[in-house]
């Protein structure tokens, strides 16, 4: 396994050239040898769709349809690459920015938007998608992921050799999150119990206004090794490299080889959220630098230069993206607010006399409000 301080793994250069496969790289290249032109077009499509969706969500927020939006633009390669490395039975514990992974796992984009609209706290079914709720408390989902993986171990779903059974858990977090105690605890637990977790950090350079240098003094991949967990840095804007590296890590997890940490170096192109203004703290040059490393551009360049795709393909993807955007726009505009009384529905699954009483009160209150109004 590569030393934590090696160069970040890269298989596709920013100008779209597949890197020659020697040394460690050969191993990684081998892991995505099945990703030919067709699969690369799929990856491209995923990324383009997610980016289009993201732009639409941003627009919807500006129009007052969403309470907030946390853009994932710039992180598509990291998210699609990681998601495509997973098996159907694998599980993902996301932050609040994993729209690309949600997409691949088949979560309805409108459910993601309902959260940011303020119409729900999530509410998609993690059993169906293997994609757990968005977590807004930074880092809190990492112990969940490790615990889930401990459950996988107890179910005997590691190391059986059955590719439809052995299960890995992807634990997503950011550079900022790495400072939280719980994140480090989760890493340590996974190491101690050899739990099948892939710790997947999208180091996008910033935690709101704080640069990654305020979060750590050594690369996160090295942090992992300090816990006895293999750590690897990958070019997070290279969808192929991310897929390879996460695949290797997930394979290790599934086969009983324990956890791995993958640090994907990427960039949060937009502000932290639509409530944020990154011009207050981020030097313009940084935006400009990363614009040259765009995750979609390089795949497009590669596909075009190798004859893997032509204008027709890109036009079709664009059209499909516009359709998605239109559907999403329509869906959000038509989204009805939740029933007020629904706030009582799932606080407890069993009976709760006080909740029942308060619910009854509010029901009456809402029913009689017009008369009561002063």
């Amino acid at each position: 396994m590569p030393a934590a301080t090696a160069e970040p793994v890269q298989l596709l250069s920013p100008d779209g050239v597949r890197q020659d496969a020697s040394g460690d790289r050969a191993r990684h290249a081998e892991l995505v040898s099945g990703v030919g032109a067709e699969q690369l077009r799929e990856r491209y499509r995923d990324m383009a769709m997610v980016r289009r969706f993201d732009a639409e969500a941003t627009a919807l927020q500006r129009q007052g349809e969403l309470a907030l939006w946390a853009s994932g633009t710039g992180q598509e390669a990291a998210q699609i690459g990681a998601a495509r490395a997973l098996a159907a039975q694998d599980h993902v514990f996301p932050t609040y920015r994993e729209h690309g992974i949600a997409w691949v796992r088949g979560v309805d984009p409108l459910q993601v938007l309902s959260l940011y609209r303020g119409a729900s706290h999530g509410g998609w079914d993690p059993t169906a998608s293997g994609f757990h709720p968005y977590t807004l408390v930074i880092g809190a989902q990492l112990p969940h992921a490790t615990g889930y993986a401990m459950g996988v171990q107890r179910d005997g779903d590691v190391g059986t050799g059955d590719p439809a059974r052995d299960t890995a858990v992807l634990a997503c977090f950011g550079d900022g999150a790495s400072s939280q105690g719980e994140v480090n605890e989760a890493l340590n637990w996974a190491a101690v119990f050899q739990a099948p977790v892939v710790f997947f950090c999208q180091n996008n350079g910033w935690a709101i206004s704080s640069p990654a240098s305020r979060q750590f003094a050594a690369p996160l991949a090295r942090r992992a090794e300090g816990f006895g967990v293999p750590g690897v840095q990958v070019d997070g804007n290279d969808v192929l490299a991310v897929e390879a590296v996460v695949r290797e890590a997930a394979d290790r997890a599934r086969s009983g080889g324990g956890p791995t940490l993958v640090e994907a170096l990427t960039f949060r192109v937009a502000a932290h959220t639509t409530s944020d203004d990154s011009s207050r703290y981020r030097p313009r040059e940084e935006d400009e630098l990363w614009a040259t490393r765009d995750p979609l551009t390089r795949v497009e360049a590669h596909l075009r230069s190798t004859g893997g795709a032509d204008d027709a393909f890109f036009d079709a993807v664009r059209a499909e993206g516009d359709e998605l955007a239109a559907r999403v726009r329509r869906g959000v505009r038509e989204m009805s607010d939740p029933e007020p009384l629904s706030m009582f529905d799932h606080a407890y699954a069993g009976d709760h006399p006080l909740v029942a009483q308060e619910r009854a009160w509010l029901e009456t209150w809402i029913a009689t409000e017009p008369e009561e109004a002063r």
Partner: protein
Amino acid sequence: MTTTATRPAPSPAGGADESTPTTLTLAKAITAALHDAMAADEKVLLMGEDIGRLGGVFRVTDGLQAAFGEDRVVDTPLAEASILGTAVGLALRGYRPVCEIQFDGFVYPAFSQIVSQLAKMPARLAGAGTVPVVVRIPYGGGIGAVEHHSESPEAYFAHTAGLRVIAPATPQDAYWMLRQALTQPDPVVVMEPKRRYWDKGDVTAGAASLAEAPSLHSARVARPVTAERAAAGGAATVVAYGPTVRVALDAAQAAAEEGVELEVVDLRSLSPLDTDTVVASARRTGRVVVVHEAPVFLGLGAEVAARVTEAAFHSLEAPVLRVGGFAVPYPAARIEEHYLPDAERLLDAVDRVLAR
């Protein structure tokens, strides 16, 4: 994964005829409940510091690792946040983790996981899942311990929407309440009155006893006062839970010798509260005192007082009085007797409600 053993040892609560009561300490009643729940449901597993080989610092899990193996009785790293956090993850995978917190004062590193994850996850999942995690916390003072080992943090949990909070005071209640907690779908915090761990009582265990058990959230009239006696005056209601139930019963006995009758209500459940039982008693006696070890200021007694007063205002002859800890950090053990509410202090409050 090393599974050291798979054949469950017999339940500490007894043998073949489950309906025959056994005399057990409160601690052993919990052991029995955990044992029987694990035998009944293979998804139940225990997590905590030193709960395996050692059997926990109070020996509550003694023998369970030998009976059920290391995968089901997990000695964890020393990290409460992750004990709770991984329990949430295990619950999402279909397990029923029971987390042991070693002492009350050590639950706070897990507070974020309890309040923001465990308590809120069901609402977040909106029906797409549950997280039936049980958190056991030995709590309260009076054991002559050093700092952080004598606290009563129950109000923090009772104020947290999404949690259920129970506090059994007797071996029998400890048994069935824990068993019930381990078959229902919501997160439950169990406040275990550690200074009563060695109190003994009869326990009827097994499925039969569960079928007859009341709702998890019902209070218990631990000492009733007859309607006639209550109507005649000179009676009062004392509301207690966990370690102060014994205090209340002692006070009631002393009061009886002076001709004052105390109806003792053991809340058992702190959230939700069985307000009906307390209000019914308050209506009959017209005088109520609440007693707990936690600081009076915003302790459970505040909620009981406010709620009972709202429901029984016109039946009350005096304001509901509260007896409990002071608004200072739990003191050094050598003076804790002056901090903890005892029968004397309770009776002083009873005198005051009777005098109005």
